[in-house]
């Protein structure tokens, strides 16, 4: 399996034993819930979305993330010009983020994104998250034990949505 489920669970422990989970807080320290990733084939809860499986690392270090989610009931096609341009902007970055994945529940719609950064300049870099130009982003500090580091997208491909793989998945399954 090359994709997993992810959700930000606002209250209480995540259901159905995630493969990785960590508490999330806003930049001002307000509790935001638990960011959890499941490897099950079945969707663990209604708000979960598919992410690139390489995102999960149960030994991953704490990180700052930019979580972009559309308003309830809204979703854009990956063909949308705004989504295409955001992916091009990600590829054009000189300094890649630690991880990038789009969120999706089918094979053709963009339903948000998660961008991971670490280091002293993580917050500053994430404030320029290209996906945050599409929908509102929230910046969160996420504890250890869930988020890994993915190789930067090879580029220049932006076509990686037709096979139900969250972009930038850039290697075909064997």
């Amino acid at each position: 399996m090359s994709w997993h489920w992810i959700a930000l669970v606002p209250d209480g422990p995540p259901p159905k034993q995630p493969a990785g989970a960590a508490t999330a807080t806003t930049l001002d320290g307000t509790a935001a819930g638990t960011l959890a990733i499941w490897t099950s084939h079945a969707k663990p809860l209604r708000d979960a979305r598919r992410v690139d499986g390489r995102l999960l690392d149960d030994a991953g270090a704490p990180a700052v993330v930019s979580l972009v989610r559309p308003p309830a009931g809204v979703r854009l096609k990956f063909d949308d010009g705004a989504v295409q341009q955001a992916r091009r902007r990600i590829l054009a970055l000189g300094q890649p983020f630690d991880a990038v994945t789009t969120l999706m529940s089918d094979s053709s719609h963009f339903e948000g994104s998660l961008v991971v950064a670490r280091g002293d300049d993580a917050v500053a870099r994430l404030r320029d998250d290209p996906f945050a130009r599409i929908f509102d982003a929230v910046l969160l500090r996420v504890g250890a034990g869930v988020l890994g580091t993915m190789p930067a997208p090879a580029g220049p491909c932006i076509e990686r949505y037709g096979s139900a793989q969250p972009w930038p998945w850039d290697v075909y399954a064997a």
């Binding site: 000189g94 890649p96 930067a152 090879a154 580029g155 220049p156 491909c157 932006i158 076509e159 290697v171």
Partner: protein
């Protein structure tokens, strides 16, 4: 000495990219036809022209057509990153400042003893890294036009995609 002619397998190089991350060529190629370009360096006006006039405009098509581009030079990562950003490229640039891969490939341009750059060349690779076409770009007009690259990528795509003929009901 590797054979870099059509039909031979291109070595699966492992080098830092423009951001300093070690990347393997086969990882960058993934499952797609790939244009691998060796270039002299940011300072060469021919390389600037080839990138600005051919490869960078061509990436608009490559990025939606399940194909890849990879560039390779002796520039250090920070230099390659600046050059890549300056020309507007969105693909991966591999960096060989120690000239290890250049030696392995025997692609040193011996007529430039100041910079010891790569011989400019373009290889169109299949996903298994076998060479479909090789262009010698020492003289600028030896380099492929975008039409030639499109023909090569069409040939490789036709070879590797079982659904080249659109599936019928």
């Amino acid at each position: 000495m590797p054979d870099l002619t059509p039909g031979a397998r291109f070595p699966d190089l492992e080098l830092p990219d423009h951001a300093g991350n070690v990347r393997r060529l086969s990882e960058l190629v993934g499952g797609d036809p790939t244009v691998l370009q060796t270039y002299r360096g940011w300072w060469c006006p021919k390389e600037q022209a080839f990138l600005r006039e051919r490869l960078v405009p061509f990436q608009e098509e490559v990025e939606v057509a399940y194909a890849r581009i990879v560039s390779l030079s002796v520039d250090a990562p920070e230099v390659a990153a600046a050059f890549r950003a300056g020309v507007g490229a969105r693909w991966t640039f591999l960096c060989d400042p120690e000239r290890t891969a250049q030696t392995e490939l025997n692609l040193r341009e011996t007529t430039d003893t100041t910079n010891d750059p790569y011989v400019p060349a373009v290889f169109v690779l299949r996903p298994d890294l076998t060479i479909h076409t090789a262009y010698n770009g020492y003289w600028y007009w030896g380099r492929p036009t975008t039409d030639e690259l499109a023909r090569d990528l069409r040939d490789v795509t036709r070879e590797i995609r079982d659904d080249w003929d659109a599936p019928t009901p």
